[in-house]
């Protein structure tokens, strides 16, 4: 599987409701070690939302502040971001990901502290 | 070949003037613009002559300026002449402007020929009619701009 197979796919719950598309994939470095990198990166969850460009600008991280104008704009472009834990993912189909948790129960993604 | 052509060319292109110009007003403004370009060329030549008179410039550079001025004026005239005048009033405009353009290009050609031969001292004498031509072109442009 490639990361691209996840990015952009539509996320749908069991009631057929859409949570938007995958904008990013959260990784945690706690897998079995690989080479000189140390622990490998594990897919922890999907960041999902209706609008896309905002996520890429990086303003969801707490320590990224200015400029005010762009921050507000990015916030507006990504105001409905949601987070899906990987263990809630049931199946990955081309362009479609089915999840086991209802869309309304999804919470906002946690802001990253630092890159 | 150079800018004046390009400007007039773009003007024609954007005006959608591949066929006959329907409105006499459009024709008139094109005539005005052509006069403006020609006046600019004549004035440029006059500045070059001024430099020659003061012995301030090389013959080669002066020739270059004069060649370009002549090119600008002739190509503006050529582009204008290719436009079909829409009616009688336009014909009158055309005759009047063509007369001025003819005078200008003829004079500019004489300057260019003298400069090419290295007869820089003759330039001020040859350029004597040009201020008058420039004046008339400018007022034509003013009146029909």
């Amino acid at each position: 599987m490639r990361l691209t197979d996840l990015l952009g796919a539509e996320v749908i719950d069991q009631e057929g409701r859409s949570a938007g598309r995958v904008h990013d994939v959260r990784l945690v470095q706690d897998g079995p070690p690989v080479g000189g990198f140390g622990a490998s990166l594990r897919v922890a969850g999907l960041i999902v939302g209706a609008r896309g460009i905002g996520a890429r600008l990086g303003y969801q991280r707490r320590h990224v502040k200015g400029p005010w104008l762009v921050r507000v704009l990015a916030g507006w472009l990504f105001h409905d971001g949601r987070y899906v834990e990987w263990d809630r993912v049931q199946t990955v189909q081309p362009d479609r990901i089915l999840i086991s948790v209802p869309v309304r129960d999804l919470s906002q993604p946690e802001a990253l502290e630092s890159g | 070949m150079r800018r004046s052509t390009a400007v007039v060319g773009v003007l024609l292109l954007l005006g959608g003037c591949t066929g006959p110009v329907r409105s006499v007003n459009v024709y008139e403004s094109k005539a005005g613009r052509t006069a403006e370009v020609a006046a600019s060329a004549v004035q440029t030549a006059l500045l070059a002559v001024e430099a020659a008179d003061g012995g301030k410039a090389h013959g080669r550079y002066l020739t270059q300026v004069l060649v370009e001025a002549e090119e600008d004026a002739t190509s503006a005239q050529g582009t204008f002449d290719a436009i079909q005048p829409p009616d009688r009033r336009a014909d009158a405009l055309r005759v009047r402007l063509d007369g001025l353009l003819g005078e200008a290009t003829e004079n500019l050609a004489e300057l260019r020929i003298a400069a090419r031969r290295g007869h820089l001292a003759e330039l001020p004498e040859l350029a004597r009619p040009l201020p008058e031509v420039a004046e008339q072109l400018a007022s034509f442009a003013e009146a029909h701009g």
Binding site: V64, P67, V70 | R2, S40, L47, Q64
Partner: protein, 409 residues
């Protein structure tokens, strides 16, 4: 002492490097048509390029990442590819314009038709890109570009009505007989000439080429904050020369030779010769910068090895791109399209394309993951946001104005 020399050299090259064929054409044309009434745009453009270049230089120095590397990181592969297409096209047009400009400058000195010089110029540009060390290249052409100061000397010797020029510059108004859209169209052209995107590609890549470290940040600021404004002043003297000599006679300059007339009339043969050296150096230097920038932008998008800090054999795709771009640029000029017209289009489109690179740089300059404690100050951000809005307005207005004014004619 060595440090002082380095700083002084940087400032001087920034002055000479600021002016290129776009500045020469835009300033002469606006001066001849609108007097000093658009001088304020040069000031706005110079502040903008200072802001933009300082940020890009700082980001490149601290993170080691040049502009197009970051454009892709922030905008993603798709949007950045569209951005690359637009930016590369404009840089390429500018390259062609500069090659044409060099050939025109040589034509003025030799009376041999510029088209014959184009292949030779293109070959020399490539040869310098291929062989000459980065800092030598930058210093030689930057310093030689200072010959343009002769235009300022001419203005000084003439002793014009300074008050009148200043009054024209400080009381902007659309001259009689000119329309508002045309005036604004030329304003955009002047802005595009002062803030050309390639300057920023080149500046940030240059910081990586020269291996700048945090200790060089002060040098970066001085180069930008002193060099560019003085360069802007130099281009304003060209505008003033046109205002004094060409505007009253209704001359609309379409040739480099006409731009040189004011200096010639005041200073004579020697002044002209020095000015032509300045034209040559400024356009040749800019041809190098745009040629390299063609390579920088594509290589940085795809992550190829780029730069003159490695052997050409170690950056083969980068060198292939610059070689092809220079050849194609010369080819474009050889179609006998007027280089001055190419210049006019390149600067106007440059203005329209500015947000494409300005925006990602503004965002990254605020990202502590890249910048650590060197993120933008609140003042830079306030000014930066103001320019972001301004550049967006310009980008939206450019094409409609271009159509409405028939490209300013």
């Amino acid at each position: 002492m060595k440090r002082f020399v380095a700083v002084a050299l940087g400032i001087l090259t920034a002055i000479g490097g600021f002016v290129d064929i776009g500045d020469i054409v835009a300033n002469a044309e606006t001066g001849a048509r609108f007097g000093m009434s658009l001088a304020w745009v040069v000031v706005v453009g110079v502040i903008g390029i200072c802001l933009f270049a300082e940020m890009a230089g700082r980001v490149a120095t601290v993170s080691g990442r040049a502009v197009f590397d970051l454009v892709r990181e922030r905008l993603g592969a798709r949007v950045a590819l569209v951005n690359l297409g637009a930016s590369f096209f404009i840089t390429f047009l500018t390259l062609a314009a500069e090659i044409g400009g060099v050939a025109l400058a040589i034509e003025l000195a030799t009376s041999v038709n510029y088209l014959l010089w184009v292949p030779i110029v293109a070959f020399l540009v490539w040869l310098v890109v291929w062989r000459v060390k980065f800092d030598v290249m930058e210093n030689v052409f930057g310093l030689a570009g200072l010959a343009l100061v002769v235009a300022a000397v001419a203005l000084w010797r003439l002793g014009p009505d300074w008050g009148g020029l200043l009054h024209g510059a400080t009381h902007p108004a659309v001259p009689q007989g000119e329309s508002h859209p045309t005036w604004w169209f030329f304003a955009i052209a002047l802005l595009g000439a002062a803030m050309t995107p390639y300057e920023v590609f080149f500046f940030s890549s240059g910081a990586v080429e020269e291996g700048w470290s945090r200790a060089d940040l002060i040098t970066n600021r001085l180069n930008v904050y002193l060099g560019f404004p003085l360069g802007g002043l130099l281009s304003l003297t060209l505008m003033a020369g046109a205002t004094l000599f060409l505007e009253p006679r209704g001359i609309q300059p379409g040739h480099l030779s006409q731009v040189a007339l004011p200096t010639l009339l005041v200073l004579g043969k020697l002044g002209l010769a020095v000015l032509l050296v300045g034209f040559f150096a400024a356009t040749f230097g800019a041809a190098l910068e745009t040629g390299l920038s063609c390579g920088y932008s594509i290589a940085q998008y795809f992550g190829f090895q780029w730069g003159k800090f490695v052997r050409p054999a170690d950056a083969p795709r980068f060198h292939l791109i610059t070689l092809v771009s220079i050849t194609a640029g010369a080819g474009l000029v050889l179609t006998t399209v007027d280089p001055i017209t190419v210049t006019e289009y390149s600067i106007v489109l440059s203005a329209a394309a500015l947000p494409l690179t300005y925006f990602p740089i503004l965002v990254v300059a605020n990202d502590p993951d890249y910048m650590g404690d060197k993120v933008n100050s609140w003042f830079t951000n306030a000014l930066g946001s103001l320019y972001l809005v301004l550049l967006l307005v310009v980008a939206v207005a450019t094409i409609p104005l271009m159509i409405l004014t028939k490209a300013g004619s």
